[in-house]
């Protein structure tokens, strides 16, 4: 079997594992919906003396696990606890972070759902943990598959749309896992594993390419720099967009107490302020990187095509993506544009990125439509 075939095999294996991870994450949400353990729907929380302040209309603040940690197991009055929780949600001290990390290492992280202090491992929690492990496994398999493909071709393994998509799926998962090392983002696992799986599916079914060769335009060290930056940006854009979608869900659940769809999902999520902060951090991280990717592309274009900017469809959509994310960052700093409006702008930016990634290569004719589709 050639290295390329091994690579394909690993990609298929990764897809199978991603599917299982996705199911595990979905089960954890379903468990939350059923109101068991980890994720108590808002309505039931209201009846619970400990969770009540969190559920009582105010932003859900920090789940019970944090409340217990922060107040040393004593919750004085509901109002106090809620205020305290909100304060904590805004700024977590290193100590609490460290405690959480320690708890995470012990395998019973208790932030997303609640009730960790009880020491029980509710079904939703357990399947989310299984999902995380499977995601790590799938990521490992995929990365090895990509590396083997690169070794087989003797070049950077993102020389055509198929390889680019494989690498993008790995980048999505990689960014997610990198974030998960420092904070509990298991609630993001479902969307991330789904996005990775869809990307891989498109790659395998629609974009498969059996050639190790490159078109001449791609034979440049800028392939490594420009495309790698674009791939990592894409992974981060995807994670940022997933967090933004969940922000909108949580925000709706906070606004509409009996939201039929958003409510149960949001019960499994941190409060909207924390989601918004995460989405912002990811997007703020990716913006300079995307700026770099665009500029590196311009430098390459100058070498390859004789102009650094020529309004090729790919360039145009990269520019549009950049503008919309710039708008997102500005909107967040502007009164009246925060919250939902900024979130929608962020999602529009992600849509522009997707159009740039898939649409331009598949439908527009331009200098970038080389990539062996």
């Amino acid at each position: 079997m050639s290295l390329a075939q091994w690579s394909n095999l690993l990609v298929y294996a990764a897809m199978a594992i991603y599917t299982m991870a996705m199911i595990s994450f979905a089960v954890s949400f379903a468990a939350a919906r059923a109101g068991t353990g980890a994720a108590t729907p808002a309505r039931e929380r209201a009846a619970d003396p400990v969770l009540a302040p969190v559920a009582a209309g105010e932003p859900r603040g920090v789940p019970a696990g944090d409340l217990g940690d922060a107040a040393g197991g004593q919750v004085a009055t509901p109002a106090d606890a809620a205020a305290r929780a909100r304060a904590l949600a805004r700024e977590r001290s290193p100590q609490i972070e460290a405690e959480m990390a320690a708890e995470a290492r012990r395998g019973r992280r208790g932030r997303a759902g609640g009730a960790s202090g009880a020491g029980l491992l509710p079904p939703g929690r357990r399947s989310a943990n299984i999902g995380m492990s499977l995601t790590w496994l799938a990521f490992g398999l995929l990365v090895v598959g990509i590396v083997l493909r690169g070794v087989w071709a003797g070049r950077a393994p993102w020389g055509n749309m198929y390889e680019y998509s494989l690498a993008s799926a790995a980048a999505i998962t990689g960014v997610f896992l990198a974030v998960s090392v420092r904070r509990d983002v298991r609630w993001l696992g479902l969307l991330v594993s789904m996005a990775s799986l869809i990307t891989l599916g498109v790659a395998v079914l629609l974009l498969y390419n059996d050639s190790p060769q490159l078109v001449p335009a791609l034979k440049s060290y800028w392939l490594v720099i420009h495309v790698a930056a674009a791939i990592i940006s894409g992974g981060a854009f995807t994670v940022g967009a997933a967090a933004t979608v969940l922000y909108l869900v949580a925000e709706r659940a906070e606004r509409v107490p009996d939201a039929r769809l958003a409510g149960p999902i949001a019960a499994r999520l941190p409060d909207s302020a924390a989601l918004d902060a995460l989405a912002y951090r990811v997007n703020a991280f990716v913006f300079p990187l995307w700026t770099f990717a665009v500029i590196a592309g311009a430098i390459w274009a100058e070498d390859a095509w004789g102009r650094y900017w020529g309004w090729d469809p790919k360039e145009t959509w990269a520019f549009i993506t950049w503008l919309v994310y710039a708008g997102y960052l500005h909107a967040r700093a502007t009164a009246g544009w925060r919250g939902r409006r900024a979130a929608v702008i962020g999602l529009v930016g992600f849509a522009a990125f997707l159009i740039n990634f898939f649409g331009v290569n598949l439908f527009a004719s331009g200098l970038h439509s080389y990539a062996g589709v």
Binding site: E91, N209, F285, I295, D303, R307, I320, L323, G327, G366
Partner: protein, 581 residues
Amino acid sequence: MTLARGAGPVTDPPEDVDDEAAALGADWGGARRRRATGPRLGMIGWLRWGWRQLTSMRTALVLLFLLAVAAIPGSVLPQRATDPLAVTAWIDAHPGSAATLDRLGMFDVFASPWFSAIYLLLFVSLIGCVLPRVAAHWRAMRAPTPPAPRRLDRLPHARTWTTADPGVLAAAATALRSERWRVTPGPQTGDATGSLAAERGFARETGNLVFHIALVLILVGVALGALLGWKGTVIVREGTGFANTLTQYDTFSPGRLATGALPPFSFTLSDFDVTFESTGSQRGAPRSFAAALAYRPEPDAPVEQRVVSVNSPLRVAGAKVFLVGHGYAPHLRLTDSTGRVVFDDTVVFLPQDGNFTSTGVLKAPDAQPQIGVQALFLPTAAVNAALGPHSTFPAPDDPALFASAFTGDLGLDSGVPRSIYSLDTADLEQLGLAALRPGDSWELPDGQGSLELVGYERWASFTISHDPGKLLALAAAVLAIVGVSLSLFVRRRRIWVRVSVEPGPGARGQDAGQDAGRPAGGEARGIRAESRGPADPGTGDVDVAYRVQVAGLSRTESADIGDDVARLVAHLGGPVDEEGR
């Protein structure tokens, strides 16, 4: 990155201006009193209002999104600047809407007045916002950090502990300075007591401003290139040459202010080599291009050799020569009815698809009578019912020419410009059709002459450009990346330290005024019990115990100052755990 503009949203404009004008004491006497009936804005008032609107963040956001939307048609519709032939084809295919779209500039979006208007307004807005902020930032960097608030314990990450060490304030200042904090000493209240304010992270706003200024510089670089640079394309057949003069270009677009002669270099395309993938799903994809050039930087300079390929342009005499395309140039020999050879040269054929099914035209106005030939050149020929004659592979594995000859007035003497790539056959009489392999000769009917396919060469097309704004744009782009990274990753934050004499048993009430910040109840005592300070005033052996308060404040969103405070507190021997809120 984020420019928080102005103090607040731009609200009711007349009032806005009214306030401002009244405050400035301009010719707006009594303006405030007239507010109930609605103010009258003079010329200057309206200008001020307009300027404020333009430089408001809301307007900038709207312009940003307008620019994004305005760019979309440029990616959907073919553009004259990149592909004029596609524009012509699109207009032919959509006769109904094309004229309107053309009038709106939809085929030249990025040079259209409305697109330019949006980005110019955006840049004016940006400059109008950034300049005052440069001044404000300059002042902020030189202004001292505000002294410690009275109730330090109310700030996030506040710590309080006691120590007997009288040098703790000085130690704090030293530690903070060594970590590049800018330390502003507060009022000294005693030998060892007083406060300090420390601040860092000015690079955030510096980066923010640098980023926005760099964007302006990029635009300046682009403009310089567009005004002073020039760019042309030329098709060169193998074995023929090019000299850098205006008449040799197929297309040439000089900058508006481009002056002076073109640098007098020249080159000959001695060989053009191209390989294609021959198997698998990528069959037919190009794998390498190499154009061997023999060039002279100046007319008298010795000839130099250089292979130009896609990512490897030739730099010569301040210009760059890029390989951008290639195709076939069949060598045709046409003999007319008198037996005279009226044409004997290679003809550039333009590829129509990925397999280089190429079309070309030969016009022989000197023939008796005039002869025109329309032809298809197929590097790997095939014929089927659906496609007719077509090529199945881009390399010349089985080349053939499908020619159609015409006679009549070619119209070349009429003075109307004609394309060299098309033949208007409306007034011509068709002589016949023939398929030729290299070496074949076709006797035209009625003794009108003969057409021979002698062989074929390749041609390569080059873009030659000179862009004096390029380096500025590149430098500005690098600056922009540095600036935006600083503005997003640097955290602006402040730390305050206050040392006061601890009131209580055995302590002298040296500065009771500082005591206001003491938390009520037993909280402070609880902390004292945890503190690592060597002194415990409760034992009564120590005359003076100092109360140390440290607190931090983050001035940017989602920035955690906790670890800064923790590090300082640990250094000063304070409690490890965060307490004392």
